[in-house]
Subunit: 140 residues, 2 copies
Amino acid sequence: MSANAWLAQLHENGYRITKARGAVVETVEKSTHALTPVEVYDIARKKYRALGLVTVYRTLEKLEELHLIQRVHQPMGCQAFISAGHGHQHLLLCKNCGQVAFFEGDDVDALTKVVAKKTGYLITEHWFQLFGLCAKCRAK
Amino acid sequence: MSANAWLAQLHENGYRITKARGAVVETVEKSTHALTPVEVYDIARKKYRALGLVTVYRTLEKLEELHLIQRVHQPMGCQAFISAGHGHQHLLLCKNCGQVAFFEGDDVDALTKVVAKKTGYLITEHWFQLFGLCAKCRAK
DNA sequence: TTTGTAAATGATAATCATTATCAATAAGTA
DNA sequence: TACTTATTGATAATGATTATCATTTACAAA
């Protein structure tokens, strides 16, 4: 999915297309790394100088609401985001370079069901992420 | 493991046993809910009035270092902790009451190996949590 | 095209969590 | 009991996030 498709999604949901949003969307959509709001701000401002940090927060909020991005939790903190353009997939983050890889999680659903039965919980959400070194960083 | 055993662990690792640490350890060790630093502070101060918030942060740091507690990530933010007294297990959090259940994750290791082979990553850490409603909250 | 209206914006201030600093205190060993 | 040094709590500093508000701008309707 392209940045334009994201903007179309925003429009379809009653949100307006602005230069600020264009810059944020373009930045997040094409990033292969999880970005914090401030990082998005720094990069997006190269495309649109007048952009305000607050607008970045607000735009990320909407993109998350539309499931166009997903939150990335890191061992030491939160508030980083990555495009969710690959459907429902899980993340694998390189601790050295920050590169993000996606992988399928068919087995996760099976495991979830087993746990639900054992614990009596109704499971509505899951959260699975791996951390390590990507092939490149391993070689160094 | 009891609060005393945790304090013994601290001592073994060259840290001193203080009233402040006693209060923090007692609070976190027996909690069935993930607690934020401020929550720990509020509860522990009932046991030891003079406790400072900064000491809570520092004590949690050490407990994490000794793997006595683990970080709990929530869909909307981080910095909450729960006892890691159950060995390496995964968490299941009730979104309504905050109750935490543990479950085994044998299947996770198998999945991890498959992903490592497919992606070429060296996987050093994983992070798996479920969210939902516990049996009690479901019934309401 | 032009115009009207409400959504969206950026600047600023306010709030909240976390970290750094430092003199005073207390743990634990000799 | 005394001494050394880790630990403490108070305070200040920092950094991230949220609230406020007057101004601007998207865009639908005329």
